[in-house]
C-alpha cells in the first residue's frame, strides 16, 4: 500500500513559502488505480513526486509498504517499489537503443547479466515494443517513446507505478496506446497513481481524487464524478462531450448503467 497520512508540502521557505499540498490523505493498493485531477498548480505533480520519495512531506507521513519515505536508509527500497513515469519521455530516455535504455535501471541495481536480459525482454513485451529492441529512441513515435519510458520503469519490477501526465504531449493514437498499457498493468496487479488533465482518462481508474489549491476537493468512485455535471463544474472541471452525450441518452431512456466512457462502449450499449 502507498499511504498518504495528512500530508503537507510547501515550496520555498519562510515568507516566500508557497504551500502546494495540505492535509492530503489517500491510499493506493496493489491492483488498484487512482486518477488524480486538478487545475495547473493544484498540487498534482507534487503529489506524484511525494509518492516515491522524490519529495518528502513536511507535515504528515507517506509510507510505501509500511516504509516511511523520509527514512534515509530506505530510499532505494522506496524507489524500487514505486516507479515513476513523467510527462516528457525525452527527459527520461538515456540510451541510444530501446533495449539499452530499458537495461539502464537493472544494470544500476548490479544484477547478473541473464537477469537483466530477462527483465528487459519482459518489460519491452509488456509495453508492446517487442521487435524494436535495437531501434534508436529518437526514431520512435511519441506514443512509443512514452511506452519505452514505462518499460524503463517496469524493468525495476515496481509494485506501484506513478504517472505524471503521461499522455499530455501525445497525439490521440499515442494517448490510446499508453492508456491501454496502463490499464493492463493495473489488471496485472500493480497499483497505479495516474495524474492527468483528462477527465475521461482519470475516470478509467476506479477511483478519482480531485485536487484544488493543494487540498482533496473530491475523492470517490469515478462513476460518481463523471455522471454529475454539477459536481464537475463545482470542482472546476469541464464536462467532456462524451459524458454529455451519455447523460442526454440516459434522459431519453437509454439504459447505460455501468457503461465505460469510450465511444465504442457507448455505441455498443445503444444496441443492447
Amino acid at each position: 500500500m502507498i499511504r498518504f497520512d495528512n500530508v503537507g508540502f510547501a515550496y520555498g521557505s519562510g515568507e516566500s513559502s508557497v504551500p502546494a499540498l495540505e492535509g492530503v490523505t489517500l491510499s493506493v493498493a496493489p491492483g488498484e488505480s487512482i486518477g488524480v485531477l486538478g487545475a495547473n498548480g493544484s498540487g498534482k505533480s507534487t503529489l506524484a513526486r511525494l509518492a516515491n520519495g522524490l519529495l518528502l512531506p513536511q507535515t504528515g507521513r507517506v509510507t510505501v509498504e509500511g516504509i516511511d519515505t523520509s527514512d534515509p536508509a530506505r530510499v532505494r527500497d522506496v524507489r524500487t517499489t514505486v516507479g515513476m513515469v513523467f510527462q516528457r519521455p525525452d527527459d527520461q530516455i538515456v540510451a541510444t537503443s530501446v533495449e539499452d535504455d530499458v537495461a539502464f535501471g537493472p544494470e544500476n541495481l548490479g544484477l547478473p547479466r541473464d537477469q537483466i536480459r530477462e527483465r528487459v525482454d519482459d518489460a519491452i513485451a509488456a509495453v508492446g515494443l517487442t521487435g524494436l529492441e535495437r531501434r534508436e529512441p529518437h526514431l520512435l513515435s511519441g506514443g512509443q517513446k512514452q511506452r519505452l519510458a514505462i518499460a524503463g520503469a517496469l524493468a525495476m519490477r515496481p509494485r506501484y507505478l506513478v504517472f505524471d501526465e503521461p499522455t499530455s504531449m501525445l497525439d490521440p493514437h499515442g494517448r490510446r496506446e499508453v492508456r491501454d498499457v496502463i490499464a493492463r498493468l493495473t489488471r496485472e496487479g500493480r497499483g497505479v497513481l495516474l495524474v492527468t488533465h483528462d477527465l475521461l482518462e482519470a475516470a478509467a481508474c476506479r477511483r478519482v481524487v480531485v485536487l484544488r489549491a493543494g487540498r482533496v476537493a473530491f475523492g470517490g468512485e469515478s462513476a460518481t464524478l463523471v455522471r454529475d455535471p454539477r459536481l464537475m463544474t463545482s470542482l472546476g472541471l469541464e464536462e467532456p462531450d462524451l459524458s454529455r452525450l451519455v447523460r442526454a441518452l440516459g434522459g431519453l431512456g437509454v439504459p447505460l448503467d455501468g457503461v465505460g466512457y469510450t465511444p465504442s462502449e457507448v455505441a455498443e450499449a445503444l444496441w443492447r
Binding site: 501526465e165 497525439d171 499515442g174 437509454v254
Partner: protein
C-alpha cells in the same frame, strides 16, 4: 485579402544523405476573418506547413503569397505572426509588459507605441496591463503564461496569426481561455490553428485541412467534415468522441446519420437510429 499557399513542397536535408519529404502538393487559403484548422498525426507535416506560412521555411516548390504579394522572410515580418508550441518557454523579460512590447519595438515602433500595442494585446488576451503588466512572466500560471506569449504575437498586429498546438499541456480553464481568445482574434486577423486533435477547434473552424504523410488528405468546410467524418480515419486520426459514436452506430445501422458535434442533438439521432426513440 488572403494568405495563399499553392502546391507547396518541402523536403528536409536535401544537401545531406537523410532526405525527408515533409510536404508535397499542399494548397491552402486563409482569408481575413477566417479560422482554418490544420490537423494530422504526428509527423504529417503540420509544423512544417506552419513554418512555410510564416516565411520561416522557403518551400522548394510552389508559391506562398500574402495579400497577393509573394511571401519572403522580410515581407512576413509583421504580416504573419507565429505562436510556437510551448510558446511560454520563450518569455524572457522582467515584466509581462516588457515581454509583450518586444515584438512591436523590434518592428520599429517607438517605446510609447510599443507599450500601447502591448497594452491592447494584453487586454485582448484577458491579462489587463494594470493587473499583469508589471508582474514577472515567470509568476504566471501555465494558462496565463501561454496567453501572455500569444499577446506578444498579437501586439505586432499581424494580418494572419498562426498557432502551433496552442492548448497543449494546459488544464481545462487554460484551454478554454486560449480557445476563446483565438476564436475572438478572427475579428482582426485570419487565424490558423494546428492541432493533433480536432476536438477543441472543429466546432469553431471555418475550414479544415487534414494532412497525412505530408499530403492533403482532405480539405474543405468544417461542417462538411462534421457531416461526414470518415476522413479522420483515412488520415490515421481519431474523430472527436461524439462523432465517433455516431459513425460506429451509422456503420452498423447501415445508413448515414446527420452527424453533429452537439451531444444533445447527437443523443436524439442516436436514440432514433437504434430504436430507443420513435
Amino acid at each position: 485579402m488572403a494568405l495563399r499557399l499553392e502546391n507547396i513542397g518541402y523536403t528536409y536535408g536535401q544537401a545531406s544523405s537523410v532526405v525527408t519529404r515533409a510536404l508535397a502538393q499542399v494548397s491552402l487559403t486563409v482569408e481575413a476573418g477566417e479560422l482554418v484548422l490544420i490537423i494530422g498525426a504526428t509527423g504529417s507535416g503540420k509544423s512544417t506547413l506552419l513554418r512555410v506560412c510564416a516565411g520561416l521555411l522557403e518551400p522548394q516548390t510552389g508559391a506562398v503569397s500574402v495579400d497577393a504579394v509573394p511571401l519572403t522572410a522580410q515581407s512576413a515580418r509583421g504580416a504573419v505572426g507565429l505562436v510556437f508550441q510551448d510558446a511560454e518557454s520563450q518569455l524572457f523579460a522582467e515584466t509581462v509588459l516588457d515581454d509583450v512590447s518586444f515584438g512591436p519595438a523590434n518592428l520599429g515602433a517607438t517605446p510609447q507605441e510599443a507599450a500601447d500595442a502591448a497594452r491592447r494585446a494584453l487586454d485582448a488576451v484577458g491579462l489587463p496591463a494594470a493587473e499583469f503588466g508589471l508582474r514577472s512572466p515567470f509568476s504566471l500560471s501555465g494558462g496565463e503564461a501561454r496567453r501572455a506569449a500569444i499577446a506578444g504575437v498579437i501586439a505586432m498586429e499581424p494580418a494572419y496569426l498562426l498557432a502551433d498546438e496552442p492548448t497543449a499541456g494546459l488544464d481545462a480553464d487554460g484551454r478554454r481561455a486560449v480557445r476563446e481568445l483565438l476564436v475572438a482574434v478572427r475579428e482582426k486577423a485570419g487565424v490558423v490553428v494546428v492541432s493533433h486533435s480536432a476536438e477543441e477547434f472543429l466546432g469553431h473552424a471555418d475550414r479544415v485541412l487534414v494532412l497525412m504523410n505530408g499530403e492533403c488528405a482532405w480539405y474543405g468546410d468544417a461542417p462538411s467534415l462534421i457531416a461526414d467524418p470518415r476522413p479522420f480515419e483515412r488520415a490515421g486520426l481519431i474523430a472527436p468522441d461524439v462523432l465517433a459514436v455516431q459513425m460506429l452506430v451509422a456503420d452498423r445501422a447501415g445508413d448515414s446519420l446527420g452527424h453533429t458535434l452537439d451531444p444533445e442533438a447527437a443523443a436524439r439521432s442516436l436514440a432514433l437510429a437504434t430504436g430507443w426513440l420513435s
